[in-house]
Amino acid sequence: MKWVPLGLVRYTVCLGGLSVFFFLLCILTGPFLMLYYVPDVNRAHADVMDIMQVVPFGSFVRNVHRWAACLMIVCVPAHMTRVFLQAAYKPPRQLNWLVGITLLILTYLMCFTGYMLPWDQEAYWGATIGATMAENSPFLGAKGPFSVLPPDKDIHYIMLGGTVLDQPTLSRFFFAHCIAIPGALAGLMGFHFFNIHRAGGMSGPL
């Protein structure tokens, strides 16, 4: 039996809870998109086109997936801001703050990788910006300052699976977006909630 103070739900409308909610919506709609989407550079764009125009309810499901993701990327930083403003990172909740920042990073990565999957101009060139930044990282990128790694071993190569955006890039972004990152997110979220419980509940009204 777990008791929580009355009036916990207030005007910051439980942003953490909403993040979970939007995540679940994405998890529910994602697999349906997966049924019609093949991560093949020759097909991906046409598949998304089909989802939008041919598949029954396809556009609706894709839209829900997209807009829920957008709301999630609004909610998670807002939740972090709430946590900071209520000093909920102070003892005994430091660990949960660290878990939270990791969740924040994973959420952004989720969006970055998902944005790429339709393989349209916007996705391609958007991802190119990200790839350029990776390529220019100090030490780790082949073109950055103090680069030590050759272009076929640097972080840019690892990210793209090659030196340019192509099939290997799409394959690994697909894997990251549909398996690796959501898995990590779900696991860490569980740990996040366990930590709230362990800290003796919430620090104050939301």
Partner: protein
């Protein structure tokens, strides 16, 4: 459990009604009765609290459904590596970083600055010297510096995002809202960089100012933080404040780099 069974004999209510009162139970009605002892001012996490959150979720579900019904998520033409569009914009949540690219080299905008942001976020619980102040409430007055820095950073992130999203047109040129973004601007502003000595002098002065001045002026604060935490805090602070400074120098005085070296430029 508060109810008590009152032991009284069976009561008949007359011959016509075939009812017999067996016992009288004194206590609250079922509706008001808690099966478990309830601490005053508390409610059950499940189902009471979870239901409230679900109601908020439901409201958003309706919003999302309406939104998804009326507004299609965009899908542009098939990617074409051979044709760089004039108007590349990252997804809106990354446009802040992309906007930084207009002022900083990619290694700064894409690697160093984001890493510093994340490192700073991770370090927050360890560089805040006060373990108790303001937990669970909005204590703006008592945590001026902490909250000021945090909200300053958040404001900068979203400020850059808004500028990048609304004020940048083709080739990332700056457009006022009343300017037509379909007209490509030929704005190759001549940029200049500080000479090496001036650059070093500028950065040394800046570093000294940000790293030493607070320790001198706010001595209590310095001693409460301790040297290591102080240095970490104000290095992060220096980086954060450097961003708007560079943006200002670039926009107002067309400064390309403050420091030019053979290895990297700042």
């Amino acid at each position: 459990m508060t109810e008590k069974i009152v032991e009284e004999g069976p009561v008949t209510t007359g011959d016509k009604e075939k009812l017999r009162l067996l016992t009288v139970v004194r206590g609250e009605t079922l509706r008001n009765r808690d099966i478990y002892e309830r601490p005053p001012g508390y409610e059950l996490f499940f189902p009471n609290f979870v239901m409230k959150e679900l109601c908020v979720g439901l409201a958003f579900l309706i919003i999302i459904f309406v939104w998804a019904y009326f507004k299609d998520s965009p899908l542009y033409e098939l990617s074409n590596p051979a044709e760089t569009p004039s108007h590349i914009k990252a997804a809106w949540y990354f446009v802040g970083l992309q906007e930084l690219l207009a002022y900083f080299d990619p290694y700064l905008a894409g690697a160093i600055i984001p890493s510093m942001i994340l490192a700073g976020l991770y370090l927050i619980p360890f560089i805040d010297p006060d373990p108790v102040k303001g937990i669970g409430r909005f204590a703006f007055k008592e945590r001026k510096f902490a909250i000021g820095c945090f909200l300053g950073g958040v404001a900068m992130w979203y400020g850059l995002l808004l500028v990048g999203w609304f004020f940048r047109g083709p080739y990332w040129s700056f457009y006022w809202p009343w300017e037509d973004q379909s007209v490509v601007k030929a704005t190759e502003v001549a940029l200049w960089s500080f000479p090496l000595s001036a650059g070093i002098a500028f950065l040394v002065c800046y570093g000294t100012l940000v790293l030493i001045l607070p320790a001198v002026i706010f001595q209590n604060f310095f001693f409460r933080l301790g040297l290591i935490r102080y240095l970490i805090t104000f290095n992060l602070f220096a980086v954060m404040c450097f961003v708007p400074i560079k943006i200002f120098l670039r926009s107002a005085f067309s400064v390309k780099y403050i420091l030019v070296t053979p290895w990297f430029n700042i």
